[in-house]
């Protein structure tokens, strides 16, 4: 596989990889590094890639694993200390106080979900994958995906209604 064939195969989902890692790692810089690193890994394994039926799902699984490793590693824990002082737009305390910025509230609500639910929300509601694909990416059963997704959506719904009523009162 030469470089242009490789790029044609993997470039279409680079934004998805980036957004998925950003959902897990929070910071844009970390997500950019993760995306770069992932593509390097894919490039190194380019001969094996052509054997996979669904390269995109495979890449997303790799992204997930890579991000989990990053979160576990010491380096990332050092970084998270930094992020307690400085956070991405939409997640900072100031932004949380601004109740009228309801879109960033959603961001915060999703950030508060358990990791698994966060990933499923990202893959379904933002990247619009089928349940079957999500199951493949996360290596869980379709029914488990549905249950977790429903739980996540309901949590967000309850919180949103709470916020909404709070705004009125």
């Amino acid at each position: 596989m030469n470089q242009s064939e490789f790029l044609n195969l993997v470039m279409p989902f680079k934004d998805k990889v980036f957004r998925f890692s950003k959902r897990l790692l929070v910071s844009s810089e970390e997500a950019e590094d993760a995306t770069q690193e992932l593509y390097l890994k894919l490039w190194k394994n380019r001969e094996k890639i052509s054997a996979y039926k669904n390269v995109e799902a495979f890449a997303m699984t790799m992204t997930k694993n890579y991000c989990f490793d990053r979160l576990k590693s010491k380096q990332a824990s050092n970084l998270s200390l930094v992020h307690s002082n400085y956070k991405e737009k939409g997640t900072s305390l100031d932004k949380k106080i601004e109740l009228n910025d309801s879109v960033s509230i959603v961001h915060q609500l999703i950030a508060n979900l358990p990791k698994q639910q966060r990933m499923i929300i990202q893959l379904r509601d933002i990247e619009q994958y089928e349940f079957e694909e999500i199951g493949k990416i996360l290596d869980i059963k379709q029914t488990a995906v549905r249950v977790a997704l429903s739980r996540a959506r309901k949590t967000i719904k309850e919180q949103l209604i709470k916020q909404h009523n709070y705004g009125i009162k």
Partner: protein, 142 residues
Amino acid sequence: MESNKIEQLLDKYFESETTLQEEAVLQDYFLNSKVAPHLKEYQALFEYFAKSKGDRYTKTIQLNNKKKNWKWMSIAASVVLLFSVYIGYQHNQNQQRAEAEIAFKKSQKAFELLSKNLNKRTTAFGYLGTYQKTTNKIFKKQ
């Protein structure tokens, strides 16, 4: 009418029983039409999803490994360091030898000088010896 259908879809949505098509309908409703007042609280959710989709990776992806270069650089640096230490040691050794040679020559000269002068003294002692003999002769005769 419209909002009734949306409500049904929302119920299904929260049970995660909607298809991707139905979710697209919901998204379209909350983004592009006049949202019924009692459904307003869900609008932010779908707005957020739509906004998040626009997040792009803007940097260029590099396929040649940067990290590996660092590894080689460090190996090269250590080799250079080792070599320079060796050269420095060698140089130091040579200098020490040269210094020792100079010191040796200097001390040799000093010894030579000493021995020359010492020889002068022995001849002087010789004179002194003859002087003593003659004085002895004189005193004996008295």
